[in-house]
């Protein structure tokens, strides 16, 4: 390694170090702000929540979905299993919307504490499996699936 090369290596390392430090600091600063949505419990801590457009994320509470006669307006509760927030939405729901599923609703909190959504998105989990397996897991007690080390079992024959 010639001195010229060593100088360049030091130069590149310094760039990397500087950028890394800058990125770490920015990320740290952003950490609190880069929130795509608030959970029902978090929503209570948001300042001036009534004056802002924000997103509410959580699970659709079991048994809470009620449709109005117009067929478009839907009432449901979004829960994080600690707190629940009632949501009203008028429009087309994504295919994955159902009770027990994750959703992210965008809209405003009104003065009665009802979240008036103008957009509802579905948020799914990281699990992928055939319906039969999901059914079997559910009957076994509904624990979260872990397929590690099972690459050889189950195989490809559905």
């Amino acid at each position: 390694m010639t001195p010229r090369h060593r100088r360049r290596l030091v130069f590149v390392s310094l760039i990397l170090l500087g950028v890394g430090a800058a990125a770490a600091l920015t990320l740290n600063a952003f950490r609190g702000n880069m929130v795509f949505f608030y959970g029902p419990s978090q929503l209570a801590t948001v300042e001036k929540a009534h004056e802002r457009n924000l997103r509410l994320g959580g699970l659709v509470e079991q048994g809470s979905v009620k449709r109005e006669d117009d067929g478009l307006t839907v009432h449901f509760m979004v829960t994080d299993n600690v707190k629940s927030v009632p949501v009203v939405y008028k429009g087309i729901l994504p295919d994955l919307f159902r009770e027990g599923q994750g959703v992210v609703a965008q809209g405003r909190l009104n003065n009665e504490g009802v979240f008036m959504a103008d957009e509802v998105l579905a948020k799914h989990d990281e699990n992928y499996m055939p319906p039969e397996v999901a059914e079997a897991l559910k009957q076994a007690g509904g624990q979260t699936p872990q397929f590690s080390g099972t690459l050889m079992q189950g195989g490809l024959n559905k």
Binding site: R8, F36, Y128, M129, A134, L151
Partner: protein, 257 residues
């Protein structure tokens, strides 16, 4: 070690060795992708929630992995070129950029086509999606910077700095789903963990390997062409050309028209 780098970094050595392995890698790539497509489209089941749309995963996830992997390789290669002044490393970095940009583009488009029916939106500014879009801009910026300079050395140096600086975006993409609340779901695969059923994991892994090798194939093809163009005045390229002209199989340059 330095000897080895310089030997492998020699364009002539690279051209000869890569010419020998390229057909084999290309064959393996085609085989893997055909198997992967068969498993992904025919032999694997629909998902319990996402039904048939889960088949988009078999191209979306391998493309996403490639988009990050190629960026890291490009940045590392650019850094090697910058420090040790190895021409081959500069070439590898330069030709990787359009390939990486292609995979990033595929990731974004297939993700959008998956997000619309499942999430209910083509696009949202969540951390995962946004950081992947930034990756595409980094690739495009790198390509633009490369072509902005007449002088190849200068182009390689300037774009190398951009590539190295931009590398911080890769861990941000990777960990975005853990660090922030995102619409995108968390990691399904990790060291020793998987929440994907084996019947779906197999086609995914085979496609991922196929896409990795496809990158290697395109990279080798482009690097070989670039090497010939840049070294055309060197003795070894002229000897190669003379040998090719001498062969009756090729005969004249017209065959390559």
């Amino acid at each position: 070690m330095w000897l080895w780098i310089h030997k492998f970094g020699s364009p002539k050595y690279f051209y000869n060795v890569s010419g020998k392995i390229l057909p084999w890698v290309a064959g393996a790539t085609a085989l893997l992708i055909v198997i992967g497509l068969y498993l992904g489209l025919f032999a694997s089941p629909a998902d319990y929630q996402q039904r048939e749309t889960v088949r988009i995963m078999y191209i979306h996830v391998p493309s996403a992995w490639n988009s990050m992997f190629i960026y890291l390789l490009m940045a590392a290669s650019a850094a090697i070129g910058l420090i040790w002044n190895i021409k081959l490393a500069d070439i590898v970095a330069a030709v990787s950029a359009p390939i990486g940009a292609s995979f990033t583009f595929i990731t974004l488009v297939t993700g959008s086509l998956w997000g619309k029916p499942m999430w209910g939106t083509w696009w949202e500014w969540d951390a995962r999606l946004t950081s992947e879009l930034i990756l595409l801009f980094l690739y495009l910026g790198y390509i633009a910077l490369q072509s902005a300079f007449e002088d190849r050395r200068l182009a390689a140096r300037a774009s190398a700095v951009l590539a190295i600086v931009g590398a911080v975006n890769v861990p941000i993409i990777y960990y975005s789903v853990q660090w922030w609340n995102t619409l995108h779901q968390p990691q399904s695969l990790g060291v020793g963990m998987s929440t994907i059923h084996p019947s779906m994991l197999w086609p995914l892994l085979i496609m991922a390997l196929g896409f990795k090798l496809l990158y290697v194939v395109i990279l080798l093809m482009r690097t070989r062409a670039e090497v010939l163009e840049r070294e055309r005045n060197n003795a070894w390229v002229q000897e190669l050309a003379q040998a090719l002209v001498g062969k009756s199989v090729i005969g004249s340059a017209n065959e390559y028209r």
